[in-house]
Symmetry: C2
Subunit: 201 residues, 2 copies
């Protein structure tokens, strides 16, 4: 997605240790038009790969919510965000899976209620980053626990050098990233624009 | 907002102790069209009250993100979500304020970086619930710490019997709720439709 790649080139900061700062448009402040275009880009990219009949979008709180919502808007289907803390409103019988915490260190639980995800659902999984793939793998586990069918995985930014795509390949579903960081040596950010990921069809 | 009031009447559950379950369209699953209409309803309601020249929307993670984003879409301004944990990408010099945690009990920090909110900004504050007003008061503190100007407060659902509106009245800004729960005695949910809160102008 050209507009996203340009934004990363203009504003992204390499903080070292593989940490990419994109707080101005992903992790703290959001540009609503760019975020809407991410939703359009995901919908177009999955359609091009033959993914059809999606009934739900799933993501994890916090930074996945915005791109998952705009994708859900374009596809006109509900969006579910896995919780990291069980809300007092969630009944027993929920599913949980563990993922590493990016901000706190350690392990975080991701929690989904089967009230909203069932065996009839065909699901797209959307998140902000694809790095090692462990957060996405936890969401995949939750989709499976609910008996729903995973149809595709989309992330805003992939760090290709962390191996997540390889780790998720056995799932046999299309994996779409809208921008691919191929190297973060020194202060450098090398970012590629994956083919077929524009907001306009 | 009639569509929201009807949704609460159809799907909302009174779990006792003043706890309203709206996980199907606010706190776990989202209806993208309803969420977009919330953004339109907020924009219309504040315009009717003479609020103009907004430059930023602020909310708190997690459940405020979706309605804040759709409001930001309608007004075409950036949206900032206060973090509950400082991301490793956030530099020193950030602001924080404390609010009670709804899901964990105890106190949670809300954190904003002054990189994205400055003295030039005119801010709308959007959140999911207005109950005691303490989370919103923490966000108001963050806006003030950044030197920005608070112009209005919007929440999806107000629980009028918890007194938050009175607590925030000294701020002298319009407070808009899209649905007002006036009583939750027994199993009952009494919900009013505040005037001037439709998605269509």
């Amino acid at each position: 997605m050209r507009a996203l790649v340009e934004r990363i080139q203009a504003e992204g900061r390499n903080l070292g240790g593989g940490i990419l700062k994109v707080d101005g448009f992903v992790n703290h402040q959001l540009d609503p038009m760019l975020t809407m275009d991410m939703g359009r880009a995901f919908a177009n990219a999955f359609a091009r790969r033959g993914v059809a009949g999606i009934t739900k979008i799933i993501t994890a709180e916090v930074s996945g919510i915005a791109p998952a919502l705009t994708t859900a808007m374009v596809l006109d289907v509900p969006m579910i965000y896995a919780r990291k803390t069980r809300p007092i409103t969630m009944p027993e019988g929920y599913y949980s899976a563990q993922a590493p915490s990016h901000t706190k260190g350690g392990i975080v639980d991701l929690i989904v209620s089967p009230e909203y995800l069932t065996t009839d659902d065909r699901v797209l999984l959307i998140d902000d980053f694809l790095a090692t793939g462990k957060t996405i793998a936890a969401l995949v586990t939750l989709v499976a626990q609910c008996g729903a069918t995973l149809c595709g995985i989309g992330c805003i930014i992939e760090k290709t050098f962390e191996g997540g795509r390889t780790h998720l390949a056995h799932l046999g579903v299309p994996i779409v990233s809208l921008a691919a960081i191929t190297s973060m040596e020194g202060d450098e950010i090398v970012v590629a624009n994956p083919a077929g990921t524009e907001a306009e069809p």
